[in-house]
């Protein structure tokens, strides 16, 4: 009983009734804020400009990968953690890009303001959409996201006075980044890359914390069994609504950065094709089983585009075939393969240990 009283004093852990002890159980496992994998990823991505030219790649690719890592991590919050398939996420990416562009061209030429508005616009658009779809599941959910995605895409193509139609917004200057005590120009790709890389680090750590918080556990409870989660006292609708909004805001952030890098914003990124690509990329990487799935997926996608794309013009065919094979044989993706490999090694290790123990036992 005492425990319950102590518990209800913590607003994070309880709702109005204050007696859901399972939440305590869910949150007792401590997770490190920064893990080995995270450091690994930061080192590999952070040193990209140093070795990219050496292996025949270019700096700009690093910026692109970094943006898509942000986008895919945010998307996987929805797909992998909550089990909600959104086929219209490109809309929020595009809205973020337009918001960035419109801020630069119409309001104020400031990178920070642009990014602020792109996050805000992505989040608001997603929050509105989420109002219509959060009581749904499965295919109906997917369909509604497609419908909304198409509406946004259509609007961006047709609303010439605001979005510039099919050409989009052009001539968005990269400008200067003001850090308060000093400012530097983002016109050079490597400084741009490091700016985006810093945001990648923030997003990675932030989302890692989020999915290991009680909220993140609730997301996973919804994925496993929505009805059970509701019976356990979670406000499922609100959680689904908020996760969609967060995911949309992150997509908006990625979109804003995309507009910064591309110096333009156009409707292509909002099409069904582009929205489908983010689903494919997240799944191939293994978003269903690992936090790192989307990161792997983004890297593999862009590497495939550049290496396969250099060899053949039909690289999308091969990528599509690869995707089909992944869905048929290994829906857990690359991260799933890796986990299998680790498990097998562990088993072998155990076997080796076991046999040596046996051997020593016999020797006695």
């Amino acid at each position: 009983m005492n425990q319950r009283v102590a518990q209800s004093s913590n607003p994070l852990l309880t709702n109005d009734s204050g007696e859901h002890s399972h939440r305590v159980a869910l949150t007792t496992q401590k997770t490190a804020i920064i893990t080995k994998q995270m450091i690994c990823m930061f080192i590999i991505l952070g040193t990209f400009p140093l070795w990219s030219e050496w292996v025949g790649l270019y700096n700009y690719l690093g910026a692109e990968i970094a943006i898509w890592i942000i986008y895919a991590l945010g998307f996987n919050l929805l797909l992998g953690y909550t089990g909600l398939p959104s086929f219209g996420h490109g809309a929020f990416f595009g809205i973020g890009a337009y918001a960035y562009g419109l801020t630069q061209l119409g309001i104020i030429e400031s990178v920070w303001a642009g990014i602020f508005f792109s996050v805000l616009a992505g989040g608001i658009a997603a929050a509105v959409v989420a109002c219509f779809i959060s009581h749904r599941r499965g295919i109906y959910y997917a369909l509604m996201t497609i419908a909304f995605g198409q509406i946004f895409w259509f609007t961006s193509m047709r609303w010439h006075t605001l979005t510039g139609g099919e050409d989009g917004l052009l001539n968005i200057h990269r400008g200067e980044l003001n850090l308060g005590f000093f400012s530097f120009s983002l016109s050079e790709t490597s400084s741009l890359f490091y700016f985006i890389f810093a945001i990648v680090m923030l997003v990675t750590v932030g989302l890692w914390r989020l999915v290991h918080s009680p909220y993140g556990k609730a997301l996973q409870a919804i994925r496993m069994n929505e009805m059970r989660a509701r019976f356990l006292g979670y406000n499922v609708w609100l959680i689904k609504w908020s996760v969609f909004m967060i995911s949309g805001a992150i997509a908006g952030l990625a979109g804003g950065l995309f507009a910064l890098v591309q110096q333009s914003a156009y409707p292509d990124v909002m099409s069904l094709h582009a929205s489908g690509l983010i689903v494919m990329l997240t799944l191939i990487g293994g978003g269903f089983v690992s936090y790192w799935g989307p990161v792997l997926g983004a890297i593999v996608f862009f590497m495939a585009r550049d290496t396969l794309g250099a060899m053949t013009e039909t690289w999308l065919l091969w990528y599509g075939l690869m995707f089909m094979l992944v869905i048929i044989f290994k829906p857990e993706g690359i991260a799933g393969l890796w986990q299998d490999l680790m498990k097998r090694r562990e088993k072998r290790q155990l076997k080796v240990n076991g046999s040596t123990e046996n051997a020593s036992g016999e020797a006695k």
Binding site: I139, L143, M280, T314, L316, L317, F323
Partner: protein, 309 residues
């Protein structure tokens, strides 16, 4: 009254468009109804059928000598018919291949089927791009059906009416097939309670294969009939699969007449909005969908389906 007279041609247009939408949705509906599978490759099979037909109607037979010359000299109507039959049949074979790939996703979440067919759509589209190029192409129609006629002060394309009539005919045929044949009864029973049907000794695995092939066949027929109106591009599939998907959900998954009504409704809305604000005509159907689904969560005539889980 005046408004009604002004609207009349748009309503006629809308009805014909609606029948064509219904034709597109038929094969899609069959697969959704029986297999509870959203086939996102439907549009690509649609495009593939049209490309096959185009190649059969106007093949490049310069290296075949006399036989080639003889074939090209055959009447266009005959070659068109040949293209319709053989093209649809070839696409049915492709559909069978796809179904075999799908088998591992049965019993898993419905999203896997959706994703696999999305991948298949990408692969088919890229294959079309490699084989036939990415430019706009043209599917010829027999002289008898082309041309235009004037009624009132509007010009109508003759082919459009043939196509709408054919759409109505196909809808009728599929309805007869589902309602009046034992095969149709088996399909519907399989959709309703697959375990029971299996227990009664029906080979459900084969049934699913045939249903998928039939769905693909209908997609290809729709493609061959419709591309003379809409033009033939590799990405025509994407333009088509979304309306089909939308019509099925609007009508209610698993409901034959729901899909047909939804098709006609979408056709009317698109045509009437198109008359007053042509730029926004295609968007009106998405808004229609959202409005309907907000108030009727299972669509117009929908029943409960496992796809909701």
């Amino acid at each position: 009254m005046d408004i009604l007279i002004n609207l009349l041609p748009h309503i006629v247009n809308g009805l014909s468009l609606g029948l064509l939408f219904g034709l597109i949705a038929l094969g899609f509906m069959l697969i959704v109804g029986v297999m509870e599978l959203i086939n996102l490759a439907h549009g690509s099979l649609f495009a593939l059928g049209a490309y096959f037909a185009m190649t059969i109607i106007n093949p490049d037979l310069s290296s075949w000598g006399a036989i080639g010359a003889w074939y090209v000299s055959l009447p266009l109507g005959f070659r068109y018919f040949l293209g319709l039959v053989i093209g649809a049949f070839l696409v049915a074979l492709v559909g069978m291949g796809l179904e075999v790939c799908m088998r591992r996703t049965y019993g898993k979440k419905a999203e896997y089927g959706l994703l696999l067919t999305f991948g298949a759509a990408l692969v088919i589209e890229e294959t079309i791009r490699i084989t036939w190029g990415s430019g706009e192409q043209f599917l010829p129609v027999p002289k008898m059906m082309s041309g235009a006629f004037i009624a009132g002060d509007m010009i109508y394309s003759t082919y459009r009416f043939y196509a709408a009539g054919f759409g109505a005919f196909m809808i009728f045929v599929v309805w007869l097939f589902l309602e009046k044949t034992p095969f149709g009864a088996m399909i519907k029973a399989g959709a309703h309670d697959s375990e029971m049907v299996r227990a009664l000794g029906v080979n459900l695995t084969r049934l699913r294969l045939y249903v998928f092939a039939f769905g693909a066949l209908l997609a290809a027929i729709a493609g061959i009939i419709l591309t003379p109106i809409w033009g033939l591009r590799p990405h025509v599939g994407v333009d088509v699969v979304i309306p089909a998907f939308l019509i099925i959900v609007l009508g209610g998954i698993g409901s034959f007449w729901g899909a047909i009504i939804a098709g006609v409704l979408v056709g009317l809305v698109v045509a009437i909005v198109g008359a007053y604000a042509s730029q926004w005509s295609l968007m009106s159907m998405y808004i229609l969908l959202i409005v309907v689904l907000t108030f009727r969560t299972r669509g117009l005539l929908g029943k409960k389906s496992t796809l909701e889980n």
